[in-house]
């Protein structure tokens, strides 16, 4: 770079400018921000500025040293004089006027805006150098265009531009500058934002001639007063043909430009005026405009605009695809690939804002969030599908591109929860990790499934083996919840954290509802009952919470609850190692039906620790014969009696009456049994569990079993193997007896019916007898 010779005036001027730019008082380097401001103020087209920067070596160096700065300034002067930029011209050009810079603060703003708008086109040095100050990039750019048409004379604009010119320059050069601008229609990055709103706003401004005020506050809400003189003047000069060429709505462009111009001045006036807190608020006029635009694409206001149509529409705005992509991400709230009316308005608003120079926010502003309450449609299903993906167990599989068939109306809570939901994505995932319920669920599933093939009920959570009614309740609830426990428990456990997807709360309901219907298809007594789910949900959750605490003996899942027994088949009885004894205890609770309560069999008899319980069981066993009042003549019943007798450790009775005596004799024991069998059942379930699959014996085997019975009780107290063997045998007997019991119950019912019919006949016959 050859040496630069500066005249004295130039020297002084440059020095002043340098110190002006030297914000950090380094005396060596001019701050890039200021320098670029300055260049903007020079009102040179961007490419020229770029050229200048290259020539002066700043781009090579990365900063503006003093010499670079001076060279640059000189080149600015050269450029402003209309001379071609050459390094040689630095020294050869004589009598070069001093470079002109628009120094007013307002112009800095407009420089910024212009700069910002040019960023898209000149990413090279500028974007790195000046991060566009979002706050200052205001409005002006186009917001203005929002405003309605107020025809201002161009003289206004001219006047406003005059102060722009630096005092050292004679006014005639300013048009020169502008002329240069007009020579670079393409260089009008500045034009773009103006033109951008053109097609959009032209119709709008036509439509709303009088309402300029309303949108003003939005834009003026931003702090530094936007100044548009430069802008305005610029707007006036560029050939509208340039605009016209760029946009289809050519006819209206001119008016648009004018309105822009005029609006800017009004904005200037109003810039100090009221400031809305929320610059993203959509005014009514804007909204109306958006709605109209929406209608052009999709006549049904409650419908969607599919992604492709929206893409075409917004591509017309000439924003870069990246930004459009970001706008889409922000505005497609439910991530369904389609825009509802609210989403469309939000997107449109963002496009306009972007065209006017606003930075796109990282998150959708509150005022742009679709109000679910207002809309008829809010997507729930896609979220559910995402939730389903997360849980891996929900049956939904809606693809993201599908518009959900039904958008459930108002989810009022969702509207408020969305912001948090959006932010709590990590919570969602970590919670699931923490709970790791899916893992535990899986394990339990595999355990349970073979055990209870006949019931669809799967109990994933281990039951604490505490003998208590509470536990019984828990089991019952778990039974109810078990069907949907698998798929929904992760969900149910997670909702407190407000999972990431928007509609989590609704999706929980939906998934719960749906999985319930799925899961309960095979269950009998528990129809899909959302309310019940709710309660079971809470309980399920608590169980999930308590399950880790369960340090009880290896907890096999409990058998199906007694309440299931109503519809239980004999098979079910068979599948459980249920003894008549326990069944009787169950019968006590549910008189008419046979509750196949999974209770420890009489094989608990050999249970060393509970000889007393065995007696209790026996007592209960004997209740069954009692419940079959007049049927002592059942063959198997007698067998049963015999077995019951033999199966008992200490009892040896062959008659029902004896049993009843026993029962009476043990009048107190019936009171004790209710809790005891439960406990026993629970405790010995681990024993029973492995035997669960073995119960397939028929009544015909009973004889064989009974034959082997007498030997069993005597082995109590002997060595372990004998005990275990006896346990096994007892369990087999249990199964047999369970089946027997069920059959007997059936017979009991039949007999009762017969009895009733007989009595009726008797009644009918009696009068005749009197005759």
């Amino acid at each position: 770079m050859e040496g630069l010779t500066l005249s004295e005036a130039e020297q002084r001027y440059y020095c002043d400018l340098f110190s002006y730019c030297d914000t950090e008082s380094t005396k060596k380097v001019a701050s890039n921000g200021r320098v670029l401001e300055l260049f903007r103020a020079a009102q040179l087209p961007n490419d020229v500025v770029m050229q200048i920067m290259e020539l002066c070596g700043a781009t090579r160096l990365g900063y503006f040293g003093r010499s670079q700065f001076y060279i640059a300034l000189k080149l600015v002067a050269v450029a402003q004089s209309g001379l071609p930029l050459r390094v040689e011209s630095l020294n050869t050009v004589k009598d070069l006027p001093l470079p002109r810079f628009v120094v007013s603060k307002n112009e800095q703003e407009s420089r910024h805006t212009a700069l910002y708008s040019s960023d898209a086109d000149n990413p090279a040095s500028y974007s790195g150098v000046i991060p566009p100050p979002p706050g200052r990039i205001q409005v002006k750019k186009g917001s203005v265009s929002h405003d309605a048409v107020q025809q201002r004379t161009s003289t206004d604009q001219q006047e406003s531009t005059s102060p722009v010119v630096s005092p050292q320059q004679s006014p005639p050069t300013s048009p020169h500058t502008w002329r240069k601008h007009s020579r670079h229609p393409s260089g009008g990055n500045n034009e773009r934002p103006l033109a951008g709103p053109g097609p959009f706003w032209a119709p709008f401004s036509e439509a709303q001639p009088g309402s300029s005020t309303s949108s003003d506050p939005i834009w003026s809400g931003h702090s530094p007063p936007p100044h548009q003189e430069n802008w305005v003047s610029f707007a006036d000069t560029p050939p509208t043909s340039a605009l016209l060429a760029m946009h289809p709505a050519s006819v209206q462009d001119q008016t648009t430009v004018r309105t822009v111009a005029s609006a800017t001045t009004t904005n200037e006036i109003r810039r100090q005026s009221s400031s809305y807190d929320d610059p993203w608020k959509i005014t009514d006029e804007q909204r109306q405009y958006y709605v109209n635009q929406f209608k052009t694409i999709q006549p049904d206001l409650n419908g969607f605009i599919p992604g492709s149509a929206a893409k075409e529409f917004f591509t017309k705005s000439k924003l870069p695809i990246l930004e459009l992509s970001h706008i889409w991400e922000l505005s497609d709230f439910d991530k369904d690939g389609a825009l509802t009316l609210d989403e469309f308005c939000a997107a449109f608003h963002l496009v306009v804002a972007r065209k006017n120079g606003y930075d796109l926010p990282e998150k959708l502003p509150e005022s742009l969030m679709p109000k679910l309450i207002d809309l008829e449609d809010s997507t729930v299903i896609p979220v559910i599908s995402e939730v389903g993906e997360q849980t891996g167990e929900v049956g939904y599989s809606s693809s993201p591109a599908e518009a959900p068939p039904s958008k459930s109306p108002s989810m009022p809570s969702l509207n408020q929860t969305w912001p948090e939901l959006n932010q709590s994505s990590e919570q969602w995932e970590t919670f699931s990790e923490r709970s790791s319920s899916s893992q535990t669920l899986t394990q339990f599933d595999s355990n349970i499934a073979p055990a209870d093939p006949d019931t669809a009920i799967v109990h994933p959570v281990p039951i604490r083996m505490t003998p208590s009614k509470i536990h019984m309740q828990e089991m019952e609830l778990k039974r109810t919840g078990s069907d949907h426990a698998n798929p929904t428990s992760p969900l149910l456990v997670k909702p407190p954290d407000l999972p990431e997807e928007n509609k989590m709360s609704s999706s929980v309901k939906f998934t719960a509802g749906n999985t319930v219907t799925d899961g309960y298809s095979s269950s009998d007594s528990y129809a899909s009952d959302p309310e019940q789910i709710g309660s079971t949900v809470t309980r399920q959750r608590s169980h999930s919470g308590t399950s880790p605490d369960n340090t009880a003996p290896p907890p096999p899942p409990p058998r199906p609850h007694p309440s299931h027994s109503r519809s239980s088949s004999l098979d079910m009885n068979r599948s459980f190692s249920v003894t008549p004894g326990q069944q009787q205890a169950g019968v006590v609770a549910y008189p008419p039906a046979v509750p196949p309560r999974p209770q420890p069999s009489q094989g608990a008899g050999p249970h060393v620790h509970r000889p007393v319980d065995a007696e209790g069981l026996i007592a209960h066993t004997s209740t069954s014969p009692q419940q079959i009042p007049e049927q002592p003549n059942f063959a198997d019943f007698s067998q049963f009696e015999a077995f019951a007798v033999s199966g008992v450790n200490k009892e040896e009775e062959d008659e029902i009456e004896t049993h009843s005596e026993v029962l009476q004799g043990k009048g107190t024991t019936p009171l004790a049994p209710p809790p005891k069998p439960i406990r026993r059942r629970l405790k010995s379930e681990d024993e029973l569990r492995p035997e669960a699959e073995e119960h397939t014996q028929k009544t015909g085997v009973i004889a064989a079993v009974l034959a082997s019975q007498p030997s069993i009780p005597r082995s109590v107290g002997k060595d372990k193997k004998a005990i275990q063997a006896s346990i096994r045998r007892n369990k087999e007997t249990n199964t047999v007896l369970a089946r027997l019991n069920s059959e007997l119950q059936q017979q009991l019912k039949d007999v009762l019916e017969e009895r009733i019919s007989l009595e009726v006949q008797l009644e009918q016959l009696r009068p005749f007898s009197h005759l």
């Binding site: 992604g307 492709s308 929206a310 893409k311 917004f314 695809i321 990246l322 459009l324 992509s325 970001h326 889409w328 991400e329 922000l330 497609d332 991530k335 369904d336 690939g337 990282e362 995402e386 993906e389 997360q390 891996g392 993201p400 591109a401 994505s425 990590e426 995932e429 970590t430 699931s432 990790e433 790791s436 899916s438 893992q439």
Partner: protein, 139 residues
């Protein structure tokens, strides 16, 4: 920790790569590239198209001296590869799965965007934020 999304075959070029400790990035890139072979191996071993999510998660592809590589493939054969330091408190498999799930969800969100053409590099800010936050969690 590094996360990368590789496009579907036959191109197999990365749609997105992001790593948290930015040094050694080249090494991670290389690792991802080599792990693609393992992924392909696993995919082919799976046989017919399996739609279950379990099959989507490929698990630990291979452990090397100080890091582990996990893989995940979508139904459209877009592969997610995650490289984590072994020095990290051993991340449970469950956590890795959930991370992949999140990735997959975000990826589908990106796909929803009509302005995104499949096969483009992913520039979404929201996606970046999600990935960053996820990686921060791990580190």
């Amino acid at each position: 920790v590094l996360v990368s999304i590789i496009s579907s075959p036959p191109q197999n070029y990365p749609l997105y790569i992001r790593s948290v400790p930015t040094e050694n990035e080249l090494k991670f890139h290389y690792t991802v590239h080599t792990s693609l072979d393992v992924v392909d191996e696993k995919i082919s071993a799976m046989g017919k198209a399996l739609v279950d999510q379990r099959e989507l998660y490929l698990g630990l592809l291979y452990p090397t001296e100080d890091y582990k590589v996990y893989g995940y493939v979508t139904n459209s054969k877009v592969k997610f590869v995650m490289v984590v330091d072994s020095s990290n408190t051993a991340l449970r498999d469950n956590e890795i799965r959930s991370m992949f799930r999140k990735l997959h969800n975000s990826y589908t969100d990106i796909m929803c965007n009509p302005f995104y053409n499949p096969g483009d590099r992913i520039h979404s800010r929201a996606f970046d934020n999600m990935v960053n936050s996820m990686m921060m969690q791990v580190c």
